[in-house]
Amino acid sequence: MKLALATLLLPAIAAHDVEIVECKVSVSNGSDNPSLSYTTDESYSINIDEDGKCQIKATTEFGVVHALESLSHLAGETCSISNAPVSITDSPRFAYRGLMIDSARHFLPVHFIEHIIDTMAASKLNVLHWHISDTESFPSSSDLFPELAEKGAYSYPDASYSVQDLKGIVKYAYDRGIRVMPEWDVPGHGSWGKGKPEVTILDGACSNTLDPTNPEVYTFLHSFLTEMKDIFPDANLFLGGDEVDTNCFDSSPTVSKWMSDNNIEDGVALQSYFWQQVTAQVMPGLNKTLGVWMADDGIPYPEDLPAGSFGNVWQSQSMMPTVIDRGADVVLSGPWYLDQQKPGGFSSYAIQDLWQGMYKIEPYDGLTSSQQGSVLGGSACMWAEGVNALDFDAIAVTKAAAVAERLWSDASVKDVDDAQARLMEHVCRLNMRGIAAEAIAQNFCLADVL
């Protein structure tokens, strides 16, 4: 889009620009309730001839959503393009292109989550991994277990999501081609105990770790997740599994006794037992694909999970082949933690190094061609210890866009200078839409003066 001189508020349509009056859209495999899943065909084509005659074709409605987003990039606010004819055929490299948000460390209001979904759509990210609860708070409501949010939210009801809110967010995302994958982290990183102390380890050093030795925990989780599975219709369910402090077990006399009575030798074995029970008692009937965090220690072990589960590799990228060989698919997020503010090594221009470092990551590095088939995609993660609605845009959006291109475009699209020019244009576009994405280098954007 040509930027006019600063004297004009909006760019005029120059003589050789072509105005797009209408765009014919056709969907070859559409339906009234198109299904949005890992196998949804997101491809589309846009054809605009010299006279501005425009045609969008896609297999599904979600391809059209992407086409319209691309068209908005081409045509900008003036609905005209300067480089007709245009012929675009596009489809994503990876089907799982995620952004993880954390509403437990800081509550994110419903309208702000909708705003986040808008920022995702602009960069064609398509999985909202919603880390709903953690040690700090439990904001999602449940009709079966109202005490979870009533006692677990930072402030109830204003810092909680009603069941209606949850459904509304899922619908808002669906309309934009975005899947919502909920996460309630277990057995650690939880605040279940605020509302339901009986499912946590009551004696010992920890107050909020679920008690793997208590059979009620599994019946409870099954009931809770059975209620949640229709509120969140996505095929994936994420249950965390990360950073369990085994001191929680060792310091509890009841747990220690149970372990010795049942020949469970240590905290690692107890976690193995926990996930085996989740597989046997919690997951059946939910009809969900299970996802868990996969740290360098390899816990939870894929052998303890249902077949077809996936691990989100969040520490070393080099863990990917190990996880794949153990039988799980993988999503990569380790190099894409958006709360990371300092790049490795000394630099005066942190944002430059950060987005470029994220952009240069190649998910297939270190994988045999056979292992590559198990990579679902990746996820940028916006942990919220130090982020809330007031600074989310600035910290997350620009870097997430770099990750989004890595996940959408072909591996050969990796020239950083070329990407920078396009990213700066994209940031300006986002700014013009009221999204306060972080600037990365010197330029002029009309949003600066509006």
């Binding site: 070859s28 495999n29 899943s37 890992y38 196998t39 065909d41 297999t59 490299r93 089907a95 095929a235 009809n287 077809g308 698919d329 297939y364 045999t368 061609s369 056979s370 590559q372 088939g373 198990s374 679902l376 072909d410 591996a411 050969s412």
Partner: protein, 481 residues
């Protein structure tokens, strides 16, 4: 038109007996395939077969076309070669329906005039990551014919194992196989190639070098850089090329049309070569310096020498796309480039420069990638991005059944039914088969055809390849979750 197991097949306008051997055998196989259920009714249907050249050579330029006519009382097949006849029999077997009491062919009269779009239509099978017993390989070959595929690309050896016992270098197989029972003898190969030939299937062997060769070392340590750094094979010593030459002689008989792998085309691999063992070996590093080449140059040298060996034995060569990336237009013009890297555009580059290609892009046609849906496989297009004038250089393509995560217990359910999506893409007219959703009904039927014939094709509506059915249901209508 009613039809029964007593249908008579005869040869030519004079309706004499079918020629004994391949032609009669193919008919016998077809009738056992079709007439599984015993019926008491009889019909007076006859099949007339006319083949111009019933013992045509099985190669890339063979004519596989046929015309199948079914009137109200007679069937006729006419084709230039026996290959078209085999395909016509498959088509005929798909037309015949059984209603519980008797067989018939509906919608008669009909005439089908058919021929494949691409001449190289294959499945790669990997017997190195897991040994595949001979009975399994036979069933794979049978299943190829049901989908009119015509090439078995046999990735015979790799780093994990060397299951072939070469008479000239027996320790390759003795020391390199997983176990004594996981080996192929010359006789095994001869029998299997003949089994395939009778069914119109070419067997193209692949001996992958210089990488993917860690198993060669245990038998002949002199061909690898060192005991701890076992690949790529050592380019600095003639021992390596003597061994390769001896092995190739065992496979090819040293001459075009001879040997146990008679096919004109041989795949030499050349992919994924990590040259660190060359740089780390003092000897090899010295040798490279002496020749004034770096590791890239050494790779090119190795590929060049092995290609020459194959050429002197009358073989045309295929190599994975890395050889194109290295040599570009210095590559021997008769070499066929096998495209495989995810998102690769080598198909376009190589054909633009006049080279022939075979297409197996991993992000769409690797069968071990369980997440690739049949729709995605179906809608892949081997000539994508290639100028119309160059498209004839795309010989065809292959679905690749790499063996890291399959073995004999689940290989057929991983190849099928998604392999059928690839088979249709390679056989059928592009304009008529653009959208997978138009093929869905036929795809489901074909899966039932496969399972009906004892080929364990996975449920067709699986979201991922090789997964159990989600609940009770018929063969055709399944839950898709």
């Amino acid at each position: 038109m009613p039809i029964g197991p007593d249908v008579k097949a005869c040869w030519g306008p004079d309706c004499i007996n079918l020629p004994v051997g391949d032609i009669q055998d193919a008919w016998d196989r077809t009738t056992s395939l079709i007439f599984e259920h015993s019926v008491s009714s009889s019909s007076s249907t006859s099949l007339t077969v006319t083949i111009d050249d019933p013992s045509a050579s099985l190669n890339l330029s063979a004519d596989e076309s046929y015309i199948l006519t079914v009137s109200s009382s007679a069937i006729s097949i006419s084709s230039p070669t026996q290959l078209g006849y085999y395909h016509a029999l498959q088509t005929l077997s798909q037309l015949i329906i059984f209603d519980g009491t008797s067989y018939s062919i509906p919608n008669t009269p009909l005439t089908i005039s058919d021929s494949p779009r691409f001449s190289h239509r294959g499945i790669l099978v990997d017997s190195a990551r897991h040994y595949e017993p001979i009975p399994t390989l036979r069933r794979v070959i049978d299943s190829l014919t049901y989908a009119k595929l015509n090439v078995l690309h046999w990735h015979l050896v790799d780093t994990q194992s060397f299951p072939f016992v070469s008479p000239t270098y027996p320790d390759l197989g003795r020391m390199g196989s997983f176990s004594e029972q996981e080996r192929y003898t010359e006789g095994d190969v001869t029998d299997l190639v003949e089994y395939a030939r009778k069914r119109g299937v070419r067997v193209m062997v692949e001996i992958d070098t210089p990488g993917h060769a860690g198993s060669w070392c245990s038998g002949y340590p002199e061909v690898c850089p060192s005991a701890s750094c076992t690949q790529p094979l050592d380019p600095s010593t003639n021992a390596t090329f003597d061994l390769i030459s001896g092995l190739f002689k065992d496979l090819t008989g040293g001459e075009r049309g001879k040997g146990i792998f008679k096919d004109d085309v041989m795949h030499l691999g050349g992919d994924e070569v990590d040259t660190s063992c060359w740089s780390e070996s003092e000897e090899i590093a010295e040798w490279m310096e002496g020749r004034g080449i770096d590791v890239e140059g050494a790779y090119g040298y190795f590929i060049g020498r092995v290609q020459e060996i194959a050429h002197t034995m009358g073989r045309e060569v295929v190599g994975w796309e890395e050889i194109w990336n290295h040599f570009k237009t210095d590559l021997d013009p008769t070499t066929i480039v096998h495209v495989w890297l995810p998102g690769s555009e080598v198909g376009k580059e190589a054909t633009q420069a006049g080279y022939r290609v075979i297409w197996s892009r991993s992000d769409v046609w690797y069968l071990d990638w369980l997440k690739t849906t049949w729709e995605k496989m179906y809608e892949a297009e081997p000539t994508e991005g290639i100028a119309e004038g160059d498209q004839h250089l795309v010989l065809g393509g292959e679905g690749c059944m790499w063996g890291e995560t399959v073995d004999t217990s689940d290989i057929l359910q991983t190849i099928w039914p998604r392999g059928a999506a690839i088979a249709e893409r390679l056989w059928s007219d592009k304009e008529k088969t653009k959208e997978a959703k138009d093929a869905e009904g036929r795809y489901k039927e074909f899966r039932c055809l496969l399972t009906g014939r004892g080929i364990e094709a996975a449920p067709s509506m699986n979201r991922i390849g090789r997964d159990a059915p989600k609940g009770p249901g018929g063969c055709l209508e399944q839950r898709r979750e």
